[in-house]
Every structure is written in C-alpha cells, then in structure tokens.
C-alpha cells in the first residue's frame, strides 16, 4: 500500500494515563469524544500550565504547533499546545462546542489527525478551561518536509460568539 511505503504511523505508546485538563465551573460536560484517523492513537500530553480556571477574565483560545525535525525512520511527535478559556458572560445557559486537533499531511491528498471535542453546558458566570495537548507520533521513511497544523476552536451554535485559531508548522525529515 502506497501509504505504508511513505509513512508508518506509530501509535503513541507511552501515555499511561491521559491527562484530561478540562475544567468546568458552574456547568457540566455533556459529551466528550476523542478520535484519530487511520487507527492512530490519540495521546494527550501533560499540560504545561496548571493555571486555575479563575485566573482569566476573557474568552481566549490559542493553538500552537512547533516545527519538528527527525531522521528517516525516527519517531517525531507533533503537538498542539492548545489553550482555551470560555466564560459565559450572558444571563442564559449556553452549550459550547470545544475542540482541538493536530494534523500532518503525508502527501498532497492525505492527512493524519488526532482530535478531541467536548460539548459543555455552562451556566451564567460559569467557565470552561481546557489546556489540552493533542499529540501525534509519526515516523517517515522518506526524507522531506511535511506540513503540520494545529487547530483550537469553540462555538455556541451561532448564538453569541465563536472563535477559531490555527497554527501551521513543518516536520523536516532528513
């Protein structure tokens, strides 16, 4: 299979206890989903920050993917250092769709991704904080540059506000 010739994906093996860094005040998680393409295991690295959910006043999201270098056949880990804080400043309960993912293109038509998505219901004055770090480990058998990207987003189904953040990087395989 062509894909196997170009790329071998390595399921991240070392994450013994995935860290779910989703914190909700005055609200509840309605659903949580993690998935990946082509059977790649989703891994969620330890959040860098242990900031409290009360530390921020504004709704704020951020996505970041760092350029990575690896040798042919060597594992490379691509991570979205994702941050999300949503505060329900309205006087009604809102449901928020909250997501983060990290992806790599292994050729012009094909990408591999790791996703997470939550639906969270938040009462007025409540908040969500997610310092999720979805991560993908890959090993390429062919030298080259492979585009990577990370996305973090939320929306409330068009009721009040939505925000989207995208960071693009590269994996350089020598």
């Amino acid at each position: 299979m062509k894909m196997k010739f170009i790329l071998s994906l390595v399921a991240a093996a070392v994450i013994s206890s995935p860290v779910m860094a989703l914190q909700v005040t005055k609200g509840k998680v309605i659903s949580h989903k993690e998935w990946s393409t082509s059977g790649v295991s989703a891994s969620y690295l330890q959040p860098k920050s242990s900031a409290s959910v009360t530390a921020h006043g504004a709704t704020y999201i951020s996505a970041s993917v760092r350029p990575v270098q690896a040798a042919v056949g060597e594992n490379a880990t691509i991570t979205n250092d994702s941050y999300l804080y949503i505060r329900n400043e309205s006087n009604k309960t809102h449901s928020y769709y909250v997501g983060a993912n990290v992806c790599i293109w292994h050729d012009i038509n094909n990408q591999e991704c790791v996703y997470s998505r939550d639906v969270v219901e938040v009462e007025p004055g409540g908040a969500i904080m997610n310092v999720n770090r979805p991560s993908l480990t890959v090993a390429f058998q062919q030298a080259g540059e492979y585009d990577t990207f990370a996305e973090t987003y939320f929306n409330d189904n068009g009721v009040e506000k939505a925000s989207y953040s995208q960071s693009h990087g590269k994996l350089t395989v020598n």
Partner: protein, 175 residues
Amino acid sequence: MKLNRILLVVLIASISQVATASEIYKGKIISEKMWADNGGKVKLINTKFRSEHKHGYIFVDAFIESQKAAVNAATSVAGNSQTDVMVQNTSDKEQSYFVRQTVCAELDDHNMHCLHRYIDLELEPSGYFSDNALPDMSVIHNTPGVYKINVESGVLNFNHSNSTFANAEGYVVVS
C-alpha cells in the same frame, strides 16, 4: 546592546494610506490607534478573509504559518498570518466595542517585541463591523535559533463585558 545582537526589528517606515479591508454598517469608528513597543511607526497590511461572514454574533479567528529564515534575512510576521474579526450588535440598544490586535516576535527567551492596534467603535442595533488587517512586522535575526511569533485578535463589548480572543502561535526557524 544585547537585544541588537540577538534580533533586529525592522518596522516599516511610514503609516501610509492603506485601504484596509474593514467594513462597518450602522456604526462608526470612534478612534483607531497603532503603536509599537519600541515607539516605532506601524503599517497595516490586509490579510485574506478566511471565513464566511457569520453575522449575528462575535466571531474572531487567527492564523499563523511558521517560517524558515536565513540569518540576517527579513521575515514578515503578518505576511504569513491572517485574521478575521466580525461583530454584530444583536441587542436593541447601541453598543460600544473594542477591537484589539497584537503581532509579536520573540527576541530571546525572556523578551517579545509587539505591535498593537486598537479600534473603538459603536454599533447601532443590527449594525456590524468586520476587519482583516494586521499591523505588519518584519524581523531579522542574526543568531540561529527557533523564535516564537504570534498573532492575536479580539473583541470586547464594554456594555455586556463580553469578549472573545483568538491567538495563533508559530515559530521562525533561523539557520
């Protein structure tokens, strides 16, 4: 000076009459200002609208692309970034909004240099504002390394205390 050894920030020399891709309907700009952390002048560049206009609420996005650069070669931060800010007043009263944009480049482990743009505006009921311009920043690094860059856009509504910010973080790999 240490900063000069690590990084030279080249600010575009003039505030020219750039036709920004801003749109305002049933509203007015109260004030707009731009400045650089080091007091230099700032120029706006338009970025491509990435999203459909979704009138009816506040929408903000930020996009950045990491770059490779040679030592002493200039790299445009905003030129590889995009943003959309869209806000509509869905209330039945006039509302005041505050749009904030920041473009930053890392100088070293402890210092960032940033350009800022603030817009104060008022919208009547059903009025809207959209914008996709960013302050431009070109950077020249004279030391190999990996330097963080980021673009942040946000909207605040003073009357409702409603606010939304999007930040996209990338890197310049200098070799």
